[in-house]
Amino acid sequence: MNELLQQLSDAVGVASSEKEVRLLLRDLIADHVDEWRVDSMGNLLAVKRGSGDGDLRVMVDAHMDEVGMMITDIDSDGTLKFDTVGGIADETLLGKSVQVGPKKITGVIGARPIHLLKGDQRNSVVKGDSMRIDIGASKKENASAKVKVGQTATFLTSYQESGRVAMGKALDNRAGCAALVELLRRDPYPFDLHAAFTVQEEVGLRGAQVAAYAIQPDVALVLECTPAYDLPNKRDISPNVWLGQGPSLYVMDAGTIQDPRFVRHIMRTAQNNDIPFQVRQPGGGGTNTGAIQRVHGGVVAATIATPARYIHAPTSMINLDDFDNVVRLAEAVLRDLRRDLFER
């Protein structure tokens, strides 16, 4: 069992309520960095001093928040009205167990039973605003003693491994966080490494924006978890990335063209070290790279991601070899970073 992934996946940190994950990460890295601080947004920013005389300012980012829900009202019958925080499709919510607020009150999201539905209702999407979280309360006062409006909730899922895959909630992006923790636990790099565990990626890349401003890096590497669409389909839609085929490199997405010089360096490093990789097919989506590369006068930035199926759902799945290779590749890329790689 990969304990790092387990701890981080099971921890709760919906965008804007990342404290539990922040504290866990602080504990995980404190002995391996020279200094750390928390900024006004809640980003955990750490510095691991370099061994050599490298003059590059290098930032490695991994967002620590996850998608979830926020309680918006408590009904007279004690059930909780909620809205989603970050992108969760309505039909992902039905029939799921959730944990609400800092006390992790257990709740469930049900619906009118299929027996009481007619015709089309049986396969129609139930809208999220008609769903309620049921914590077992019998009336409003009973519920409001346990849960407050504005508290966040997330899926109640336990991390597990089976063969070479891991299944758990919030692997987007605790897989990235775990990879960054691993990098910090290795020997010092030739330059000071600025690690940024950032908040609020799922609601608009907001933590990374200010972290990058503060760190003012020359180069930024973003560690992410990217959706794998390698499922059977009647039509021939090419998947973006595949589980088990290695770290996924971004080239272009809805928010960025990744710095081609940096992407080239990553690919060359992978080839030199016999690490498999795959280029994520260009298209939609986005990572913190989009926010980081435009601060100050611009930052050379690129993304390495662990492929995951079923992100933004109660249980996502990654391949553990992919995860290990993300750590290997990121470390090799960092150790070979030189200013001349980015000269025009």
């Binding site: 469930v108 027996h115 049986r122 396969n123 077992g136 390698d230 499922l231 839609i237 799945m317």
Partner: protein, 371 residues
């Protein structure tokens, strides 16, 4: 054992309709110390027989009461093993399972659930699908159906084919969770809540003298065809039968006035599936316990084992007790522990009150001109 612990043990074990072996063994552990005989019949029904004190009159033995709670649960079954892209798969390609339903599965709840695949070994899996943006044939107002959903166990195709075959069962995987007010939520509360109630009734009868033989049966394949009710009632030839199942509680999405509050007592069924005399005696048992029960009219078939029990052989006077639950046929079926305990006491009291004139009393009900 506390009722929560009992229900946890009973719900967390797998028992798809047609693959009840594991759940049967779990129930047998609970019933063995409470019964004089424990029998598994040729269809797979589990029977716990507790003898009553009635004199053996004409050699037929004491009259017998059958308490029937189905032990099976809705589930999925492997329909095909597939991979992407179609055609020759390279050895690294992942395999996926296409599935179909066993019993009345509510597809709206399936995406994102965790499951156990019962292959040559059991495998944990996730129910997944491509994003809708990649499925242009699927209307955005429609949920994923069995054409889009796959079960993913994270195994390469060749290994998957070694372990899993078409026709293998897939059960839902969900721990029983505690909510507030002694309410709990999990899978297969339909109908393990009733199995727990019958267990409580058998315990109740350890302390109470009862004249009739009591035969508790955990039936198979209720969710598909009521198979266990028909077969066990035929074989056991009871004088009276009571089915115990779950019914609809009010809650989110269910405001219907005619349905039932949770934690407010079980329901006593009435209507075509129920013998009016048995119904009345169940109400009397509740009165004796000063327990609140609600009459539940079933205008057509009750959708329970009572439907099968009633017409076994030349007809069996049949009653029905139901425990209100929320979110029936989902992985978050929610029940109040107290309702299970109430149903158990009610069944025990009903059984203990059965006497020599019972059958005549309820027969008279059919010809009572006073109403």
């Amino acid at each position: 054992m506390k009722t929560f612990d009992l229900l946890q043990k009973l719900t967390e074990v797998a028992g798809p309709s047609g693959l009840e072996d594991a759940v049967r063994e779990t129930i047998a552990e609970e019933w063995r110390p409470l019964a004089d005989e424990l029998v598994v019949d040729r269809m797979g029904n589990l029977l716990a027989i507790k003898h009553g004190t009635a004199e053996e009159g004409d050699g037929d033995g004491a009259p017998r009461l059958l308490l029937a709670a189905h032990m099976d649960e809705i589930a999925l079954m492997v329909k095909a093993i597939c991979h992407y892209p179609e055609g020759e798969a390279d050895e690294q390609a992942y395999g996926f399972l296409q599935v179909t339903n066993v019993g009345g599965v509510d597809v709206r709840h399936l995406y994102g659930q965790t499951v156990t695949v019962h292959g040559r070994r059991t495998l944990p899996g996730i129910i997944g699908a491509l994003p809708k943006s990649m499925l242009p044939d699927l209307s955005s107002s429609k949920v994923y159906g069995f054409d889009e959903l796959v079960v993913d166990v994270g195994l390469p195709l060749a290994e998957l084919r070694d372990v899993v075959a078409v026709g293998d069962f897939i059960s839902f995987r969900q721990p029983l969770r505690k909510l507030l007010n002694d309410r709990v939520s999990g899978k297969a509360v339909d109908n393990r809540a009733s199995v727990a109630a019958v267990t409580r009734a058998l315990e109740f009868l350890q302390e109470r003298r009862h004249a009739w033989d009591v035969v508790a049966v955990a039936t198979i394949q209720e969710e598909t065809r009521l198979l266990g009710a028909f077969t066990s009632a035929f074989a056991q030839r009871p004088d009276v039968a009571v089915a115990i199942d779950v019914t609809f509680a009010k809650g989110p999405g269910v405001k219907d006035n005619h349905l039932f509050e949770m934690d407010d007592g079980p329901t006593v069924g009435m209507g075509p599936n129920v013998h009016p005399g048995v119904m009345k005696k169940l109400q009397e048992a509740a009165e004796a316990l000063e327990m609140k029960v609600h009459l539940e009219p079933h205008t057509r078939g009750s959708g329970t084992d009572a439907f099968g029990l009633q017409i076994a052989r030349d007809g069996i006077p049949t009653g029905l007790i139901s425990i209100p639950i929320r979110y029936m046929h989902t992985m978050v079926e929610t029940v109040a522990i107290a309702d299970i305990e109430r149903a158990g006491r009610l069944l025990g009291e009903f059984a203990a009150r059965l006497n020599g004139s019972f059958l005549e009393d309820i027969a008279r009900e059919m010809m009572d001109e006073r109403e």
